[in-house]
């Protein structure tokens, strides 16, 4: 090693860092009302009916801006601001969602046919990320159970596997993001057909923004956010438990179940508290993210072992 080759680089790096910081603060000081990126709104969804059973009257909904600029969507980049910045790179038309496997009636759906077939309702759900932050989101969608029923699952359909789109132009697919693609997720059939589980096509009454998983995604509100796979191209019913992306990446950190559970920590941080986006201090995390009606799905299951 020639040390003369090394030190200048580190000093050079630091120069740029300080120059950048210096320029940044100069700009910030000259613009007291710091300009933020404009939030883009999509077309309104037709015929959305609020479901009075799911309004969370005691919770304050997060703003459209919060929900569309603070995202985890590794196909669009690993930073929270990447998905909104790269949103336009995701192509959502034409779009096919294929339902296959243990069903009597497999089908390749065009997304617009789905939008015409299923009545869309609005439900306000809590969303708890595995990274210990949370939001309250008004989703527009329909129960996954209704969708699956149309395909007549066979008696061998014990699990549901989700697959997210892979488009070669997406920055996360091209670059280094750690996890492998396509992003895959899965549920037990009783979890998938639970009345809380949704297929979501919109948000705040508008067509789902790309960074939130357009044109169609899953929402399982009692599980950590990574279970709710985005931009779905395939739903497969099967007899065996499907592999899931984060579990493949780090099985000791992310389980198949990934139920929100304040008593089971992530190995690197606590799950007992969370920061609601918009709040300064952390609040207590609720068992099953407050959706305790799902507890019966797991009776007899050791949730410390099956995290």
């Amino acid at each position: 090693m020639r040390s003369s080759e090394i030190t200048p680089k580190s000093l050079y790096l630091r120069r740029r860092e300080f120059l950048k910081l210096g320029a940044g603060s100069a700009v910030a000081l000259s613009l007291p009302a710091f300009a933020r990126a404009k939030v883009e709104h999509g077309p309104k969804l037709a015929g959305v009916t609020p479901n009075p059973k799911f309004t969370l009257p005691d919770e304050k909904k997060n703003s459209f801006e919060d929900i569309t600029t603070y995202n985890n969507f590794y196909e669009l980049g690993t930073d929270k601001s990447d998905p909104s910045e790269n949103a336009s790179k995701l192509q959502t038309r034409p779009w096919t969602l294929s339902v296959e496997g243990e069903v009597a009636k497999p089908k390749k759906w065009d997304i617009d046919e789905i939008l015409k077939t299923f009545p869309i309702e609005e439900r306000v759900y809590r969303l708890r990320c595995v990274e210990a932050w949370s939001m309250v989101v008004p989703w527009d969608g329909f129960p996954l159970a209704d969708f699956l029923k149309k395909h007549e699952p066979t008696s061998r359909a014990k699990y549901v596997a989700f697959e997210t789109v892979v488009q070669p132009q997406l920055p996360g697919i091209r670059g280094f993001s750690g996890i492998s693609f396509p992003y895959v997720e899965g549920l037990r059939i009783d979890e998938a057909t639970h009345p809380l589980t949704l297929l979501v096509v919109g948000l705040y009454g508008e067509t789902l923004p790309n960074q939130d998983g357009a044109p169609i995604r899953a929402i399982i509100p009692w599980k950590y956010g990574f279970k709710s796979a985005k931009s779905l191209v395939r739903i497969r019913l099967q007899e065996t438990q499907p592999p899931t992306t984060w579990n493949l990446y780090a099985p000791q950190e992310y389980g198949f179940y990934a139920n929100v559970n304040p008593d089971v920590d992530h190995p690197r941080w606590t799950q007992s508290k969370e920061r609601r986006i918009g709040e300064l201090l952390r609040r207590k995390t609720l068992m099953f993210n407050g959706y305790t009606e799902v507890a019966s799905l797991y009776s007899g299951l050791d949730l410390r072992k099956f995290y």
Partner: protein, 199 residues
């Protein structure tokens, strides 16, 4: 020109704080400003730690003398940002619940590494003055301040564990720290070889 180095470095070290204060006040830190503040303060402390570690090699390898004159200043500012980073965690993440902090430190190696780094930096920051250098004697003072190498290593792994998947940027910074520590190892080996030769 020579006189300007220290005040210029002082001003540069204040810039990240100024920038963060303005961003925080104007909503520029995004929907989760506390997390952004925590991350940016930690990052600044880490970069300053790397710069502190670069001062001696800059003299030995490049023959520059001016970085040595700002080494103490960089180290002090590194500790200053580390304190702000720790305070943000203690106040906003933990709500000053010291029992919660203790269990977080003991249960999670990511938090443990961060706290250990801060605890290692604490005696170095206290004894960074010339008065302490005299009180301890230069040899002992120097030996104590070698702890900064360990702090650099622990801080690197704390930084690495921050993200669900390792970031290329973190790995690049870890390489910088590794090289700066390697320079010391090579220096020490050379010194020993010289001593053996002269015997």
């Amino acid at each position: 020109m020579k006189k300007a180095v220290v005040p210029a470095a002082f001003a540069a070290c204040c810039l990240p704080l100024l920038w963060l204060a303005v961003q925080f006040a104007t909503g520029g830190l995004g929907p989760n400003p506390i997390q952004a503040l925590l991350d940016d303060l930690g990052y600044t402390a880490f970069v300053l730690l790397a710069l502190t570690l670069a001062c001696t090699p800059a003299q030995r390898v490049l023959g520059w003398n001016w970085p040595i004159r700002i080494r103490k200043l960089l180290g002090d500012f590194c500790f200053f940002y580390a304190c702000l980073h720790l305070s943000t965690y203690a106040v906003f993440d933990q709500g000053l619940d010291f029992g919660g902090i203790a269990s977080d430190v003991l249960k999670h190696k990511f938090i443990f590494l961060g706290m250990a780094t801060w605890l290692l930096l604490l005696p170095l920051a206290i004894t960074s003055t010339q008065g302490w250098q005299k009180r301890l004697g230069f040899r002992r003072w120097k030996r104590l301040h070698r702890v900064v190498y360990l702090a650099g290593g622990l801080a690197s792994f704390h930084f690495l564990l921050r993200f669900k998947t390792p970031k290329l940027e973190t790995i690049a910074w870890m390489a910088v720290i590794a090289v700066l520590l390697l320079v010391r190892v090579v220096e020490a080996a050379r010194k020993r070889a010289r001593m053996i030769q002269s015997e």
